[in-house]
């Protein structure tokens, strides 16, 4: 009589043998003390492992995990707003820099310099739209910038940057 293999005993205990093989093993175990002993050893492993209790987790892991999660991506709307804000702010900063540099460098009146820059800008970049505007009967493009207006522009830039960065910082904090 050949003895049961280790694989057969394991599969028997794991209940993965087909029904006929299962019955065959049962019959063999009933008549073979050697295999019964090996079976008992293996079965005791199953029993002993089942005695291991669950440990209690003493520390809440959630805050640590949540703090390390990456920031969720901004909604598309917010990304568009931030992109527009950045573009607008860069343009305004450029305008103000022109005024400031011109004032410091050549002592020319900031208002005159700004007007000149905007006129030039208008002529070069908006030549065709300007023509179109005239065709529609709209008034010409003119934006006189005074020193107080420059300060207002500076404030606007600051507010725009502040809003954008506050949103980004809040986003980072949520992460």
């Amino acid at each position: 009589m050949s003895h049961l293999t280790e694989e057969t005993l394991n599969k028997y205990l794991d209940e993965v043998l087909d029904p006929s093989a299962h019955l065959s093993v049962e019959a063999h175990l009933a008549s073979c003390p050697a295999c019964q002993n090996r079976f008992n050893d293996l079965q005791s492993v199953f029993h002993t492992l089942s005695l291991l209790d669950e440990k209690t987790l003493v520390r809440d892991l959630a805050p640590g995990v949540l703090a390390r999660l990456p920031a969720p991506p901004l909604p598309l709307g917010w990304r568009l707003v931030l992109a527009i804000q950045a573009g607008l702010a860069m343009g305004l900063l450029g305008a103000i820099a022109q005024v400031a540099l011109g004032f410091l460098g050549s002592q020319i009146d900031a208002r005159l310099l700004m007007n000149a820059w905007i006129d030039t800008f208008g002529r070069i970049s908006l030549r065709i739209p300007t023509l179109d505007l005239h065709m529609l009967g709209l008034p010409g493009y003119s934006l006189p910038i005074s020193a107080p207006a420059s300060i207002v522009l500076l404030v606007v830039v600051t507010v725009l940057w502040g809003l954008g960065n506050a949103r980004l910082l809040r986003n980072g904090h949520e992460a």
Partner: protein
């Protein structure tokens, strides 16, 4: 889009399953600090790979399977040359303190100690088969290993445990 994309849902998932995940890690790693670290890493990895979670299914089994792989990788990093060695044996603490000495008498501690004497990959198959009740095929899929290797590891692990646990009976 997975429901885990919602951070509140994910936080709830952590609250509900952190003890189970911690226990899986503790059985494989054998100490509190490593198990807590592995549990945290499991949740971070779960969030990163949340697209693999199928809505409507229980998150517990999914998280536990990630935990097993996290633990195996940690052990392979800690013991790079020993992790696949069948003779792997965690060195015992040469100077156990009073608490350890007390625990050594405890059956729970003995079972845990015997698990820790197994090579990491044997611990993994024991964990997946005996504590998570996965089939051989499912274990092979979780560990990304051939079915024959998984069966072989499981049977050898049980043989080692049977030899080492004789005095527990």
């Amino acid at each position: 889009m997975s429901t885990i994309d919602d951070r509140d849902t994910f936080a709830e998932m952590i609250y509900q399953s952190q003890t189970a995940v911690y226990n899986v890690a503790y059985r494989i790693l054998g100490n509190v600090q490593d198990a807590e670290d592995a549990a945290q890493e499991t949740f971070l990895r779960a969030y990163r790979f949340r697209h693999t979670y199928k809505d409507g299914y229980q998150s517990g089994p999914w998280l536990k399977r990630i935990t097993v792989n996290v633990c195996l990788q940690r052990l392979e990093k800690a013991y790079p040359t020993q992790s696949l060695d069948e003779d792997w044996l965690q060195p015992p603490d040469p100077h156990p303190g009073p608490q350890e000495q007390t625990e050594a008498c405890d059956l729970q501690a003995r079972i845990q100690a015997e698990l820790l004497r197994l090579p990491p990959r044997y611990r993994a198959v024991i964990e997946l088969r005996h504590y998570q009740d996965l089939s051989y095929q499912e274990i092979a899929a979780v560990l990304n290993r051939p079915l024959s290797d998984v069966r072989s590891d499981l049977f050898r692990a049980r043989r080692m445990l049977a030899q080492n646990m004789k005095d527990l009976r």
